[in-house]
């Protein structure tokens, strides 16, 4: 097994806690003195920098929200003078104002380091040819992967996104061994390759690092199968650093987090209490080495689970599970927290792929009612009413056992649930509360 930085990637838990504690108390001092926003927040909670001595004190610090970045647009949360900033990226965000992130020279160095670990996880080395098909520009994907690829000494092909026929030609002629792009683009490339008459054997492609959008296990299988490669899932957030926040190793059993740079916590998004390893909740990050835009307990709104067991690959760093949903989608139905992702997992059990669905919540006679509309698929369809009613019953039972609530299941025709560009609309809440 190759590691990029075995000192940190395979460090004992005890040592890692020491590193984190020291770095955390330093960063808290810095932000307290340099960022008025953080100082005010800490003062309001009655915390002084000296109170944060170890990672155990992390839970006492206030949270930071995406809205805080927007409120302080563009540079209000930077912890250094802009003369120290050497790079600016921005995320357009699907809703509202964009968020701006600034990097010092050392931040770029940290970024290249974490990406170097990611690419090494995917088996890349200085012998590799890495085709970066993430967009270059304000988006963190392209340039983020680029500098990490240079760091490991690979030959970088900075082709950026789009121009599919050129991507394919270069992949073949330049002997690309590693591909970095979104999973949906990887699948598109696979289709186009077949269309253009290329065979798996014509390429030297070995692995890909795919992220920046949600994708399913089925999609991974399809990419691996059709391109004949190892498909590695990566996780990133521009606010935290960009790509490089977490990455799978070849064991594909959770994404390793470079904990010497980013400390994760899982919290209950409602009560905000910190949950134990293995419990599912919102993943929150604290950056402990970043200089330009340090973030304290940044609320990602992404749902995940942490696993501190030593991985089969030998890395000791904590692993986060694939993001299974967003807290912003959370519904409270009869006092129960319901995430559309939980419904999705029930639906996945009845078919090979989860059908499209829509949750309709209403309140009748002071009682919340949940209707789940499920689009019919050829795989579920039968000419017998009995069989379709069995499917409805199975979904209903699955929902009841996972969520403890009674839902009405309604099978609907394909394409009858509205599709939107990118993020699917999963919920209609008709309650007037």
């Amino acid at each position: 097994m190759q590691y990029w930085n075995s000192t940190y990637e395979c460090m004992s838990r005890e040592e890692m806690r020491k590193v984190q504690s020291e770095r955390l108390s330093n960063i808290v001092k810095k932000i307290y003195h340099n960022v008025p926003f953080y100082r005010a927040k800490m003062q309001k909670k009655g915390i002084e920098p000296g109170d944060i001595k170890s990672v155990d004190d992390l839970k006492n610090l206030p949270f930071t929200y995406k809205q805080d970045l927007r409120d302080n647009y563009p540079y209000g949360l930077f912890a250094v003078p802009t003369s120290e900033i050497v790079r600016i990226h921005a995320s357009s965000g699907t809703t509202g104002k964009q968020t701006v992130v600034g990097y010092t020279r050392r931040d770029l160095d940290t970024w290249a380091e974490v990406i170097a670990r990611t690419l090494t996880c995917a088996g890349a080395s200085k012998e590799s040819f890495i085709q970066v098909a993430y967009g270059y520009g304000l988006f963190t994907g392209g340039l983020g992967v680029h500098y990490g690829a240079e760091r490991i000494g690979a030959s970088v092909i900075p082709i950026s996104g789009g121009n599919t026929s050129r991507q394919l030609q270069i992949m073949k002629d330049f002997g690309t061994t590693h591909l970095a792009c979104t999973p949906s683009y990887a699948l598109y490339l696979a289709e186009e390759l077949e269309e253009a008459g290329f065979k798996k054997g014509d390429l030297k492609l070995k692995a890909g690092v795919f992220g920046a959008e949600p994708w399913s296990a089925n999609m991974r299988n399809e990419i691996e199968e059709r391109l004949g490669i190892l498909a590695i899932d990566i996780y990133g957030l521009s606010e935290v650093i960009g790509p490089g926040v977490a990455s799978e190793c070849p064991c594909k059993c959770g994404m390793h987090i470079p904990e010497d740079h980013f400390i994760p916590e899982i919290i209950n998004p409602e009560t905000e209490e910190v949950l134990s390893p293995g419990e599912k909740g919102e993943i929150v990050f604290t950056t402990i080495t970043k200089e330009g835009l340090p973030l304290i307990r940044y609320r990602t709104r992404d749902l995940s689970v942490l696993n501190y067991d030593v991985c089969e690959c030998g890395r000791t760093s904590v692993r986060m599970s694939k993001v299974s949903g967003r807290t912003d989608d959370m519904l409270i139905i009869r006092g129960v927290n319901v995430f559309p992702s939980q419904i999705e997992s029930v639906l996945l059990e009845i078919g090979e792929t989860a059908p499209h669905y829509l949750l309709v919540v209403d309140r009748v006679d002071n009682l919340d009612i949940l209707e789940i509309q499920v689009e019919m698929t050829p795989g579920l369809f039968s000419d017998e009413v009995k069989k379709l009613e069995e499917i409805e019953g199975k979904i209903k039972k699955g929902i009841e056992s996972t969520l403890g609530i009674n839902a009405k299941i309604r099978l609907v025709e394909p394409k009858s649930i509205e599709r939107s560009e990118g993020k699917a609309k999963r919920v209609i809440d008709k309650r007037k509360i």
């Binding site: 698929t377 017998e384 009613e389 099978l411 025709e413």
Partner: protein
């Protein structure tokens, strides 16, 4: 002997059935029998048409969820107890019937019934043995 039946998933809302028949009509496909099994929310439209493969393709292209199933068509006396004879035969051989529906043929004295059974081959055999007429698929498509 097996007849290909096309089943279509429909939500219970107005106009959907008309869209199915229109899609088929536009392609010159004739419907010889039709039945709907429905619940409060959805229905399954079952069709016997003259060109089942083409019908399946056309409906899929029009965004419907479609499947095809083998059924058998029998001819029974159009008088009280006519159908009971056939059903008794199947029951005595323990062949379960999932569903059935009748449709009008050309002859006035005979009624035609579509049967969806667990084991179509065996059903055809026992019906033939008892001299109940199983209509060949080709004839059914041309009704």
């Amino acid at each position: 002997m097996l007849v290909k039946q096309i089943s279509v998933f429909l939500e219970n809302k107005s106009g959907r059935l008309a869209e199915v028949t229109k899609s088929l009509g536009n392609e010159g496909i004739d419907i010889s029998a039709l039945s709907i099994a429905d619940t409060t929310d959805f229905g399954i439209l079952r069709l016997i048409v003259n060109q089942p493969e083409k019908a399946e393709k056309v409906l899929k292209e029009n965004g419907f969820t479609v499947s095809s199933t083998n059924v058998i068509a029998i001819e029974v006396e159009d008088k009280p107890g006519g159908l009971a004879v056939a059903l008794d035969v199947l029951e005595s051989e323990s062949i379960g019937i999932e569903y059935m529906y009748a449709f009008i043929g050309k002859s006035e004295e005979k009624a035609l019934v579509i049967l969806r059974v667990e084991d179509s081959q065996k059903a055809i055999e026992v019906l033939n043995n008892k001299n109940i007429k199983v209509i060949p698929s080709k004839e059914v498509y041309e009704l």
